[in-house]
Structures are given as structure tokens and as C-alpha cells.
Amino acid sequence: MQTVGQQLIITAIPTLPALVFLVLVLAGRLLKENAQYVAILGVTISLVFSVFALLFVAGIIPGGGAPIEFSVNWIDLGLGGSFPMGVYIDPLAAVMLVVVSFVSLMIQLYSGAFMEGDKRFAWYYAILNLFTASMLGLVLAPNFIELYVFWELVGLCSYLLVGHWFEKPSARDAAIKAFVVTRIGDAGLFVGIIIFWATTGSTAFTDISLAAQSGFIGGSLFTTAVILVFVGAVGKSAQFPLHVWLPDAMEGPTPVSALIHAATMVAAGVYLVARTYDIFVQSPTAMLVVAYIGGFTALMAATMALVKKDIKRVIAYSTVSQLGYMMLGLGLGNYTAGIFHLYNHAFFKALLFLCAGSIIYAMDSYNLFDMGGLRRRMPITFWTMIIAGLSLSGIFPLSGFWSKDAIIASAYDEHYYLLYGMALITVFLTAFYIFRAIFLAFTGEPRTAPASEAVESPGIMTGPMMILAFFSIVSGWAGIPEGFGLPIYDYFGAFVQPSEFAVSTLNIEQPAFSFVIGGISFVAALLGIGLAYTLYVAQPERAGALAARFSWLHTFLDKGWYFDALYGATFVRAAMWLGRATRGFDRDIIGGIVRDVGRGALGTGGLLQRLQSGAVQNYALFILLSVLVIGVIVGAQYAVLVVGLIALVTITAFAVGSRL
């Protein structure tokens, strides 16, 4: 159990960045460039508190050692149930908290220089902090409703940040695309939540898992609901077939891409699957879907990254691919490996983007073929990017090796040889495309004037890069498998474990470290790097020749397997048609009715206007006539009265006649 003070500290983790957001929104115009100091202060305290939560959950702080859990009732429907707002921090959430706040801090430090002179500087920082706050809140959520609230906030923030330079039409379109595509996933998630809530009466992860175990929900309905939840994760984590938004999201400022790709947005999907793992393991079908979607996405995105000219897009496809690995790990039942990869990936992917940002900052171009020869001019960027690239490729002993190897080994050990093959090819492709980018940018001769005049970025940018480079090397050492023979304890594996229930349901032996499997993927990565070296350093003319020789393949990959064209021709077109039809209906039918009613009222008014003669006696006459008519109607049964009234009417008629 934790004390109230400790609960306050935990609550402050997401609240502080949210407060910073409020301060920056209200006082951003006054603070201008000073906004970064407010933001960095807030997120630093969040990081300290996150570390506290991690130590507490790990049992290093006295009184801890168990998951932190507390909640308040948010909406109480009486007999209809209730929706609590709470906090649940198990080792998974604790690790995520630290990763998110750490990466966010690095990026906020870096952004100070990168975004200098931007006219919406404070607004940028405000949204960056809201983004961080939403992701931290998402990590803490113990139930679907709370998670969904933060889930949507994360989506909103990514929309705002991708579209930060909304004066550019392409940035605007990318922001809308990111929002709409992830919304498709969100809709699936929401339906899944509703199914769970309708059948189990609860939205808490643990309750739903227990309800499914005791048979309140099962069979195809359960599988459907689980897969719908996974659809949400697919949208957020940019998995096939909803991966199309992530490369376009590169229109945002580069530090934002780092944040989206490393810690916040896209990690949310993987985190959701991990968070609801006890539910997922109860549906073998869903697990298989997760594994195959993950494996396929990893391979597909890696092929797309091979030919991109835009350095950020190469890294973006790399993210899609690595997220596929994580999904693959989770789907195969190797929970620890999936999360381990998420954690390692956060560091080296953030670093890759910051390196790319550094290059862009130096020479204001995204195109790899504008660069070249930057190695001497930007040594820190070069070496940090080499480290990140090696880590991403899975080169021993950098962090990427350990987690990626664990996932690949899982695929082999569980006899999913197709998935194993796809993962292995992806290792090769990954090493190739990232080193292609590095070689193109840093080696050879400068291809343009900006490249030959580039200078190293300021210390506030290279500082976070070096810190991240350090973590890209060592973060994996927290989880060196015991079978490797080093006298280092497998802290990560011991700390972040699936629940006992998940272990017993899956009933699979976690693979021991195998030097053969590890060696094979290591060699595949080296081959990839070697091929990249051959094609882009040793014999650069061969690359062009190959591209010309297989131009159809080159175009196919460069267009991203024509997914955009396909979606454009089907869904976008259909949606546009629907939009036009709706607009037509609204304008012609609804609007027409409204216009006609208005016109009718106007016409009737025009007719009645003639009665308004201004002569008082006419009005009196109308009153009298009306009274008579009413009298006739009310007193119709009294024949005598009727006759009398008719006489009066006659008299009045004469009166009118003489008046007019």
C-alpha cells in the first residue's frame, strides 16, 4: 500500500505536463521563447516522479514491491454500474512512464534550438506537453474508458503537431490523414469496449479478464471484441492495413516525429495490447492475428523504406516495421520481448529522428540525395546516428540486438517458420535501409552547396543526442538473457513479466538464448550493412543501375505498394462521394424545405398585410365578426340564438357595406 503523499506524486506525473499546457496556452504570448523553460521544468519533475514510481513498483523504495493501484468514482450510474478514474502501475506501466517522460524531456530540450524563431513556439511547447500528459495518463489508466479518453487526446495532439506548419498544404493534408486513419482504428476500439461493457458490465482490464475466464463472454463474440480492440491498436501503431498515415506524418517538425515514433502516439497501440494481455491470451485466434499482422507489417514496411529519398520517411517506415516486431513478439506470447523492444526502440528511434533533425537543421533539406559528405562537417551527428543505426539493425551488443533477437527466437521456437523467415528478412532489410540512409548522408562528396557548408548543430541539440546514444547502447543490457553467459542479471525479464494467468493460459516455454538464432540474425544484419556499403560507398553506380534495371519494383516500393493509390481510389473516393451526396441533400432538400417555409411565411404575411389598414373601425369590425362566429360555433345547438346572430351578422354586413 502507498500513502496519500505517494498517491499525490503518482497523480502529479500526468498532471504536471497538463498544467504546463494550461500555463503555456494562457501565457504563451507573454512567455514566447521562455516557454521551453516552463515545459522542461514540468517534464523534468514528471520524470523524477516516474522514476520514483518505477523504484516503488520494483520494491526498492520501502513499502513498494507491488503494483500501485487507487481510484475514485468518476461516473456513478447506481445499478447501471460505474466508471472509475484511477491509476494502475504495474512494472509495464512503470517502465513506460519512465521511457515516455525521459524521451519527452530529451525532445523538449532539443526542440528549444530546433524550433527557435518559430512563430508558434509557445503553442508548440504547449501541445508537446499535452501530448506527454495524455500519453502518461494513458499509461496509468486501469480501465478502457479512461484509456480511451487519453487515447483520443493523444490522437488529437498528434493531429495538432503534425499540422503544426499548417500553412503548408501538405502538412495540413498529412494531419487530417493521420487523424482520420487513426479514427478508423479508434472506432473499432470503441465498439470493442462497448461489447465488453455490455457483456461483462465493467470496463476495467482485470474485471474483463476475470469475466472472460468465468465465461460471461466467450466464443466468437469474445474473439470479435478482442480483435476490435486490436484494430484500435493497429490504427494507433500504424500496422498494416492502417499504416498509411505514419509516413505522411513526417510533415510535422522533426522533434515531434521523434516523440510520436519513440514514446507517445505509436507506442500506445503496442501498449494497449500489452496492457490487455490477459484478455488477448484467452483468444488464440486474436493472438495469431496480432502475430501475423505484426510479422507482415514488419516485412512490408521494411521493403518500403528501401528506396525512399526522404530521410525522415526512411526512418518513419522503419518505425512501422519495428512496431510490427513488437506486435509479433506480443502475438507469439513473448510478452517480455515485445515490451523490451518497445523500450529499446524508444531510445534509438528518438535518436535517429533527432539526428535527422540535426541534418535538416544544418542544411534545410530532407532529401538524402542532397546530402553527402556530412561525416566531417557533423561528427557528433554522424557517430550518434551510427550508434542508432547499429542498434536498430540489431548489432551485438547494442540494445536493439537483445530485444529483436528475443522476438525472432520466439518465432523460431514456436515453429512459426513463415514468421521467422519474414522477421529474418526484415533484419536484413532493416540493416540495409538504415545504412543506405547513413551512407548517403554522411559519406562521399557533398552533392549540393548546403551540404558542403553544413555545420554541426548547437550543444542543446547534440547533448540530448549523446545522452540518447548512450542509452541506445546500454538500455538493452538491462535485459541480457541468462543463457548468454554474462554475469549480468536479466533485470528487465524479471521485472516486466506477463501475469501468471497469461503464462498458464499460453503454456509456452519462453525460449532460452540460442547462439545459433542470435548468430543468424546478427549475420543477416551484417550482410545488410555490407550490401549498403557496397551499393552506396564502394560502387555507387551499381545502385543506380539496379534501380533502373528493376524500375517497376523500385516504383512499386517507392509508392508504398500503391496503398495510398488503392485507398484513394476506394475509401477516399467513396467517402468523398458520400460527402458530396450529403452536402447536396443538406443544401437542396433540408435547405430547400427551410427556404420554402420561410418563403411561405413571407407570402402569407404579405397577404395578411392588407388587413392591416390602419383604420380602427375595421379592427373593431373584425373583432365583432369574430365574436359572432365564435358565438355561432359555441351556441350552435340553440337555434334561436343562431338565428339572432345571423340577423346581427346581416346587420353588420350592412354596416360594413355602408362603411366601405
Binding site: 389598414s613 383604420a615 360594413v656
Partner: protein, 119 residues
């Protein structure tokens, strides 16, 4: 003392006896009708007011006649009649003031010429 013929006696009896309710009602109705007629056809605003007075008094007569005819009503009709008289006085005061104001500005009291409220 000459013998009075029964028909004449009957007539005299009718003269001295209380007239029936219908008589009052008919007189009231006639008063009202004359008033209404006048209010509708006369052009002079002052005359219209007089006609309105006639209508009001026709109603008053009816009220008082019913008050006598229905003793159980507790004199409600009479008190209503008093109320109507009071209101009629107020109405005349306001109305004549309006007529005076109109006359000052337009030098006429003919309602046909005061139609500036035409829609």
C-alpha cells in the same frame, strides 16, 4: 265608478306590475346594437366614444336585470355594473385625451384620416 273592461284592466295591471326579464334584455340588446352600429359607421371619434358608452350601458342594463332576476347571485351583477361604470369613466378619460392629442396634431377627429398604422 264605471266598470273597467277586463282588457283595459289587464293592460293597466301589466303597466304597474314588474316588467319581465325579457324586456330588460331586449332593451339592453337594442342599446348594444345601436352602439355597435354607431361605433362602426360613424367617422367622428367623439361620436364613436358616445356609441361605445351606449354599448357599455346596454351591457350594464343586462347585468343589473340579471342581478335582480337571480337573487342567489348575491348582488354580483350589480357590483359588476359598478365596476364597469368605473372603468368606462377611466376609458373615456384616456380616450378623450387621445382624441384631443390627435386633434392638436392633425386638426381633425375623423378616424378615417388617422390611418398611419397601416401595415
Amino acid at each position: 265608478m264605471p266598470q273597467i273592461p277586463p282588457q283595459v284592466q289587464q293592460f293597466l295591471d301589466a303597466l304597474v306590475s314588474t316588467p319581465p326579464l325579457e324586456g330588460y334584455l331586449v332593451v339592453g340588446a337594442i342599446l348594444f346594437a345601436i352602439g355597435a352600429w354607431g361605433a362602426l359607421i360613424r367617422r367622428n371619434a367623439v361620436v364613436i366614444f358616445m356609441c361605445v358608452e351606449l354599448m357599455i350601458n346596454g351591457v350594464n342594463l343586462t347585468l343589473v336585470a340579471f342581478a335582480d332576476y337571480l337573487p342567489n347571485a348575491g348582488g354580483l351583477g350589480v357590483s359588476y355594473a359598478v365596476l364597469v361604470i368605473a372603468i368606462a369613466a377611466a376609458e373615456i378619460a384616456v380616450g378623450l385625451a387621445i382624441v384631443l392629442a390627435v386633434f392638436r396634431s392633425r386638426r381633425t377627429v375623423s378616424v378615417d384620416e388617422v390611418t398611419s398604422m397601416r401595415g
